[in-house]
């Protein structure tokens, strides 16, 4: 009888081989609200863990170099500055692969939530919305830096590793769908962690809206861009920080979405990249083109630019982020999108639709904070030029806005071709990494590489 019982017991066990649990698997992670939120936190740490990736200072630095606002100070030419990237460039391929790594985290989060029974519907919606926002922002920068890239929304490598490049429109369609869904599911207020009241480190509905306004602007959907911008500006949650030194602080009222640094000293990647206090001269400086473009009396030239003197040379460098490893901790966050940009988006959208007065008003709001008078532009071409100039100054060394603006407006060749020797038309896109082309023969390189 004992033997029979054992046999039966053996048989019953036999049919179930339970899943492995060494490190938590997908099913374990998405079994409760708390663990699912840990996966979300993991995604943000994934975004912020290494500096100079697309979402953590990489856009500000490398796209700034590729445009005409930043230059390296060392003796060797920086291929980003000289626009002479090759497909073997390690930084260029790391920007690309880390972006897809974060997309994988977002995709995993969305897939895990979809399959989960243990996560409450409310939390599911919130987390999915946040993952969609992160995914959309990664794709936004990928498509703007590399052109049409494979749109990956799943986690099955046997499928995803073999996808070919999608057209730019398809990438934007994914971005728009993600942001639109995030707008639906995210709450209006900010979710915050105990100990960090009021932090805007997790995107809310308005962050998705602001990003969507930017996307519509890039897509030439002026009315929709204006509509989304109206929502953000009109909600009353945000105001331009009167003091320019406060704009990038963790408690900035201008912030729509910020990412908190996670390194040991809690300093932003931008502050570290442009910090002069650690060496005799900054690694990067603002170009004469940018310095020359700044109007007299612009307070941003005073508050957002610092200088270092080494012998006869003076280096001017971005000083939006002021807190370095030697400073007190935890008061500056990486600003993803802020109200001033939304004003400029609406100004451009209004100008494009012929609303001269509305455009002027938005532009002057931003100029006013910088201590400048009302704009003199009063026709559409003039206003558009003024807005582009305002973006150049206001958004300097911030997320590569200058690089993206010149490209989306079709002015890269005209402006940079004039400024930079050796500029060729195909320099507007970075190369797809050589390793990816080998691993996935379906990928086609961008022209010029």
């Amino acid at each position: 009888m004992v033997v029979l019982a054992l046999l039966l017991a053996g048989c019953r066990k036999l049919i179930q081989v339970p899943s492995q649990q060494d490190e938590p698997g997908t099913a374990t992670v998405f079994s409760s609200d708390a663990d699912a939120e840990n996966a979300l936190t993991g995604m943000y740490i994934g975004v912020m863990n290494s500096p100079r990736t697309l979402l953590n200072g990489g856009m500000s630095l490398y796209a700034g170099l590729s445009a005409d606002e930043l230059a390296n100070t060392g003796p060797n030419p920086d291929p980003f500055r000289t626009n002479e990237l090759t497909s073997g460039n390690i930084i260029c391929s790391t920007l690309y692969s880390t972006a897809y790594n974060v997309i994988y985290m977002a995709n995993s989060l969305i897939a895990g939530l979809d399959a989960s029974n243990g996560v409450s519907p409310a939390v599911k919606a919130e987390l999915r919305g946040e993952a969609e926002v992160v995914r959309a922002v990664e794709y936004f920068y990928l498509v703007n830096m590399y052109g049409g890239v494979p749109v990956v929304t799943g986690i099955d490598f046997s499928v995803t590793s073999k996808l070919a490049r999608d057209p730019i429109e398809a990438v934007y369609a994914q971005i728009e769908a993600d942001l639109a869904d995030a707008q639906q599911v995210l709450p209006a207020g900010y979710l915050s962690t105990p100990g960090y009241p009021g932090a805007r480190t997790r995107p809310n509905r308005l962050a998705a809206t602001a990003l969507l306004a930017r996307v519509w602007l890039y897509r030439g959907q002026w009315a929709m861009a204006e509509l989304e911008a109206d929502t953000v500006i009109g909600c009353g949650l945000y105001q331009l920080e009167p003091g320019l030194d406060s704009v990038f602080r963790a408690d900035s009222r201008e912030a729509i979405w910020q990412l908190q640094p996670v390194n040991a000293t809690l300093t932003t990647a931008e502050a570290t990249a442009f910090d002069t206090k650690l060496g005799p001269r900054p690694g990067y400086q603002l170009t004469s083109w940018w310095l020359g473009a700044v109007e007299a009396g612009d307070q941003r030239r005073v508050h957002w630019v610092d200088s270092a003197r080494l012998g006869p040379a003076i280096y001017y460098y971005p000083y939006k982020y002021k807190l370095t490893a030697l400073s007190p901790v935890d008061t500056e966050y990486n600003m993803v999108i802020r109200l001033a940009e939304v004003y400029l988006i609406r100004a451009e959208a209004r100008a494009m639709q012929g609303d001269i007065g509305g455009a002027q008003a938005d532009l002057d709001t931003v100029r006013g904070r910088a201590g400048l008078g009302a704009t003199g532009a009063n026709d559409i071409p003039g206003l558009l030029a003024a807005i582009l100039h305002e973006r150049q100054v206001e958004l300097v060394a911030e997320w590569g806005h200058r690089w993206l603006d010149l490209k989306r407006l079709g002015m890269a060749g005209a402006v940079l071709g004039n400024e930079k020797p050796g500029w060729v038309g195909t320099d507007t896109l970075y190369p797809i990494p050589a390793g990816d082309l080998t691993a996935n023969p379906k990928l086609v390189q961008n022209p010029g590489y």
Binding site: V29, N49, Y104, F157
Partner: protein, 1068 residues
């Protein structure tokens, strides 16, 4: 009268040195006369006979059907029920007629073991009467009809004995052992014999294991098992052993065989036992998992090699299986045994190093070669230290002799229903390093075997506990031998002398490691004979390894110039495995053969949990000791679970011990693989033909045994590091996001992950000549491992840059194994038996489509061994420039050099017995290529360079360096580092094909001499038996390998030990 149809095959078994009547023969036929039977006996055994003509007529015709019986058994069966009996002398049989009539008479007798000790509770049975048991004094009385009734005496632990009732009083001596060919072998889920085994099973019994003075059973197998390559990784007590059955099959995954203790698989951890053992002198592989089984508790070890033997282990059997059978007791009065031994360990063959003047000459030359000035700046150790001093740091670091001690005590006994065995062992040894580094092991083992009166129910319970405490320095002191030989006298206090810092050896000894490991083993086996021939069995097993490790790095163990702080690492590790098995075994006669079916289910669970606490920043050693102060503590941990379930079966048909066919199969599921790929089928089939049983061989009296077998089958390897699931890992960002750490998916889910498949084909032949005085076994195998799990590159868009997946790579292992056993002498008190074992393996990567996309690209070459060496093609040292030369680059990819595989290996064992003396001498030999130690010296010390911490002395091989134009040198000119070309050539040399060099050796592996003490003398001190013995291990090595030992190969690791142990074992 019809002519009797005769079909007689007989053959003679191994034990030919025994008296002829004990020779075994098979005899079968129909309607044979007694004379025909006697003729056969005479022909096959040389025993003559005498039978009177009238007696011959009286004897009935018989139908003998006896296999492997001795002469007595044959005669007994032919004469049973008649009035005839026989008298068997040494070489003659006389058949006589009993004048009396068949009457019912009691037969009495006494039963003793070979030492004359009475055995109680042995079962004595005669046909037609109830079985009796022997009394406490070993006496018995059974009723027997007639004088020629067979009386069968059987007791657990003894071979079955049959006597005839032709004497009123029988002195029966039960033999504990079976003969060589018929010794019971443990196979997967059952027993077999060497004669009838259809698979490739190599057995090493306890007597042989005991002859090796080693602390790990793997060490005792070295050189003794064809097809099993054992390599000691270093000579530090307790460190890991490499054990490979028939070569490396898996490119990236586990290659360690499955280790099964009496049916309970050891926790599968690829041979590791500890978490941070690699942070000790034990080196990269830490402690060996088999340390937890005291060799003294092992009855025998079987190595299963081919698919037929291993297929029944399914997805775990691909790397071969090591079956360890623990000791069982023998019935009888309680018997005690106790033993003590003591011995010494000393390191083998450390290569010589440069002395001070040679060292300084090399350094001066290096500085001059680089065009620099020899001054106190470039050669500080030549100016600020006493250059007349020449220290032997090798002797200091590893030249000590260490004691090893063993003690054991045991008790066994029982009757035919209950047999028990209890033992306790203690082992102590120490590393030959300076300082106190004891490795203590204590083991308790108990086993009880219970049989019901009707013999149908059997229970077997065994329990073992093993404790080990090992204290070691954090690093292998062998590295200290390379300290500049004029470095100041080591006093443990100073880290610099005259302003020049050097490594303070005694102080670094404060950086200690300690492990405490407890192994627990429990096993309950129950079997019940439900119907005749049908036995149901169930088995519950448990194995646990618990270890606690503590590694201390105090301030006093670090250079004060670096302003160090103290650090501790503490780990807690627990791994356990449980197994439940149910089986049914059915045997019956089918036609003229024996049919056997085995079917069973198996379930296993394995869990491991560890935690590691890392505390840094202690500002005082006192605070560290107490755990106080304000250390920064990080705690990490992990847990791992594995479940495994299977159904298995085996069908065996044995036609008269002449033709045997066997099919086995298993379907098993493992939690390591994705849904849909968890279950796999494995099978094997084999056939065996004992052609010496055929009629046409019966005249060839030279051939006494001939067997041909072949097997074909599949197994799998599920020892994979990868997980099919998407796994999340905790983040460890220096600061959390909003104060929190999160979880990050660190791998891609791969539901297609599947085990590596292994196909095996083997053909083998066993031959015995001259009554098995010469036995030759040859096996040829071909192993083909497909579906290799390797890490392969992915496009970034997949989210991870690589994934573990099954690739269509095929690895072939083929080879020939040979065992030749000869009885050279068996006369009077002398016996001399030699055994030669040789294995010639070949390993080859047959194909690997997509190799370039994997992390093996550039390392592996299709058509070559997995251990192939690639890199710049080494072309010697230039006579003119004195630089290493390499084949010009630019011919596409790296050059392909040799490999690091053995070409052949084995052992020659000689056992000589004379009266009470036994001598066992094992010579191990290996023809192989190994890793060039010069490369490791260059890598770590770059002789000629100003060494960090003044480590930079070189082996004497550096005397053979290029010095001037025209020199034909082994090594290039020395550089101080400023010569960029020479430095670059040195780097190229390190990665070049020079890596593979001849590492062949011949080693006097074991010398064991034992003497059985005189019984009469022992009786005076109330002892029943006693043995005095002397064992030596690794006593002498012949090799051309430079710098260090050819087995460990790494000159920065402790070579194996030379051991000499003397001991006394007594029974009372």
């Amino acid at each position: 009268m019809t002519a009797p149809r005769l079909l007689i095959i007989s053959w003679v078994a191994l034990s030919s040195w025994l008296c002829a009547s004990a020779q075994k023969l098979s005899i079968e036929g129909k309607g044979m006369t007694i004379k025909a039977v006697l003729d056969e006996i005479q022909q096959k055994t040389g025993i003559t006979y005498w039978i009177a003509a009238d007696i011959s007529k009286e004897a009935p015709l018989v139908d003998p059907d006896l296999h492997h019986a001795d002469v007595r058994e044959v005669l007994d069966s032919c004469l049973a029920g008649t009035r005839l009996y026989y008298v068997l002398e040494k070489h003659n049989i006389t058949i006589k007629r009993n004048p009396g009539v068949g009457i019912y008479t009691p037969v009495t007798g006494s039963i003793t073991d070979t030492s004359g000790e009475p055995i109680p509770d042995v079962m004595i049975s005669v046909p037609g009467a109830a079985a009796r048991l022997s009394s406490a004094t070993g006496r018995f009385e059974v009723p027997a009809k007639g004088f020629l009734t067979p009386v069968t005496i059987s007791g657990p632990g003894y071979s079955k004995t049959v006597v005839l009732s032709n004497k009123r009083f029988q002195f029966v001596v039960l033999q504990p052992e079976a003969e060589e060919l018929d010794k019971v072998q443990v196979q997967a889920y059952g027993l077999t014999t060497q004669r009838l085994a259809t698979g490739s099973i190599a057995e090493v019994p306890a007597e042989v294991l005991e002859n090796s003075p080693v602390d790990n059973v793997l060490g005792a197998l070295e050189g003794r098992v064809p097809g099993l390559l054992i390599q000691q990784r270093n000579g530090v007590p307790g460190s890991s052993w490499l054990a490979l059955v028939r070569g490396t099959r898996s490119i990236e995954e586990g290659n360690r065989m499955l280790e099964v203790i009496d049916g309970v698989p050891l926790v599968d951890n690829d041979g590791y036992m500890t978490v941070i053992g690699s942070g000790s002198a034990q080196g990269a592989y830490g402690a060996d998992v088999l340390n937890g089984i005291a060799p003294a508790d092992i009855e025998s070890v079987e190595v299963l090699k081919d698919a037929n033997a291993t297929a029944i282990y399914g997805s775990r059997g691909a790397n071969g299986v090591l079956l360890i059978t623990l000791k069982k007791g023998k019935a009888g009065k309680p018997r005690w045994n106790a033993g003590v031994s003591a011995g010494i360990d000393q390191v083998i063959r450390p290569g010589k190093l440069l002395n001070t003047s040679q060292y300084l000459a090399m350094r001066r030359e290096a500085i001059e070669n680089d065009g620099m000035k020899v001054d106190s700046l470039n050669l500080p150790e030549g100016y600020v230290w006493d250059t007349t001093r020449s220290q032997d740091f090798q002797k200091y670091a590893m030249g000590r002799m260490r004691w090893l001690q063993d003690a054991n005590a045991g008790l066994q006994g029982g009757n035919s229903n209950t047999v028990y065995y209890l033992s306790g062992t203690y082992h102590r040894e120490a590393a030959v390093f300076p300082g106190v580094t004891p490795d203590d092991r204590i083991s308790i083992f108990g086993r009880i075997h219970e049989r019901s009166r009707n013999q149908r129910l059997q229970l077997d319970l065994s329990i073992m506990e093993h404790w080990e405490s090992n204290r070691l320095p954090q690093i292998d002191y062998s590295v200290y031998q390379y300290l500049a030989p004029d470095a100041p006298v080591v006093d443990g206090q100073r880290w610099s002398y005259n302003g020049l810092s050097y490594l303070n050896i005694p102080a670094t000894g404060n950086n200690s490691y300690r492990s405490s490991v407890q192994n627990s083993y429990g096993h309950l086996d129950a079997s019940y004979e439900l119907l005749p021939g049908l036995v149901l069995k169930s088995s519950l097993g448990y194995y646990r390894i618990g270890s606690v490790e503590r590694s201390l790095t105090p301030i006093s163990g670090q250079d004060p110039a670096l302003d160090p702080t103290g650090m501790t690492i503490t780990t807690n590790n627990s791994e356990h495995s449980e197994v439940i098995e149910g089986m049914a075994d059915y045997k019956r006669k089918l036609g003229r053969g024996q049919f056997q079916v085995l079917a069973g289910v198996n379930w296993q669970e394995q869990q491991s949990v560890y935690s590691m606490q890392n505390a840094t920043g202690y500002t005082s050693d006192l605070l560290m000791a107490s755990g106080g102060g304000n250390p920064a503590i990080t705690v990490t941990g992990n847990s791992l679970a594995y479940r495994y379930a299977a159904v298995f079966g085996r069908v065996n048909y044995n036609w008269k011990d002449r033709y045997i066919a066997e099919v086995s199969g298993r379907r098993d599921g493992s939690s390591r693989f994705g849904p849909g790929d968890q279950w796999g089928n494995f099978w094997a089939t084999s056939g065996l033909w004992i052609f010496s049983e055929e009629p046409w061989t019966r005249n060839g009296s030279v051939l006494s045994h001939g067997k041909l077998r072949a097997s074909l089958g599949t197994t799998g390897n599920d020892q994979i590091a990868a997980n099919y699931m998407q796994v999340y890992s905790p983040t460890n960002a220096p600061q959390g996001y909003q104060g929190r750490q999160g979880l990050i998916p660190t791998s891609l889910p791969n539901n297609d992950l599947h085990w590596e498949y292994n196909y095996n084909f083997e053909v083998a032949m066993d031959l015995g000549f001259l009554h098995d005085k010469i036995m030759l076994a040859v096996a040829a195998y071909r192993d083909w491992t497909a579906n290799q799990l390797v890490s392969s590159a992915l496009a970034s868009q997949a989210g991870q840059l690589s994934v573990y997946r099954n690739m269509p790579a095929d690895v072939i292992n083929r080879g020939v194994e040979l065992t030749l056993r000869t009885v050279n002498l068996s006369r009077g008190d002398w016996k001399w038996v030699s055994t030669l074992m040789v294995t010639a393996p070949v390993n080859r990567l047959k194909s690997f489509p997509g190799l370039s996309t994997t992390q093996e690209a550039g390392k592996l070459v299709v058509g070559k061994s997995l251990s192939v060496v690639t890199g710049p093609g080494y072309r010697g040292v230039s006579v003119d420039s004195g630089l290493f030369q390499f084949r010009d680059a630019g011919h596409g990819g790296p050059d392909v050099g040799g490999n690091l595989d053995p070409r052949y290996y084995g052992g020659l064992d000689q056992v000589i017995t004379y009266k009470h003396w036994t001598l066992d001498v094992l010579i191990e030999f290996r023809r192989q290529n190994g890793q060039n130690p010069d490369i490791i010296i260059y890598q770590k010390y770059a002789p000629g360079f100003a060494g960090n911490y003044m480590e930079g002395n070189a082996p004497v091989e550096w005397l053979n360096r290029w010095r001037k134009q025209g020199d034909h040198a082994m090594l290039q000119k020395v550089t101080e580092g400023a010569d960029t070309i020479a430095s670059q050539r040195m780097q190229e040399y390190i990665s070049s094909t020079a890596k593979s060099i001849d590492a062949s050796f011949v080693r006097l592996k074991v010398v064991a001499l034992s003497y059985q003490l005189n019984k009469n003398w022992l009786k005076r001190v109330a002892l029943k038996g006693g043995t005095l013995w002397l064992k030596g291990g690794n006593l002498f090595t012949y090799t051309k390998f430079p710098v260090t030992d050819p087995e460990t190969q790494d000159p920065t690791m402790l070579p194996p030990m030379k051991t000499l142990v003397i001991g006394l074992q007594v029974n009372f």
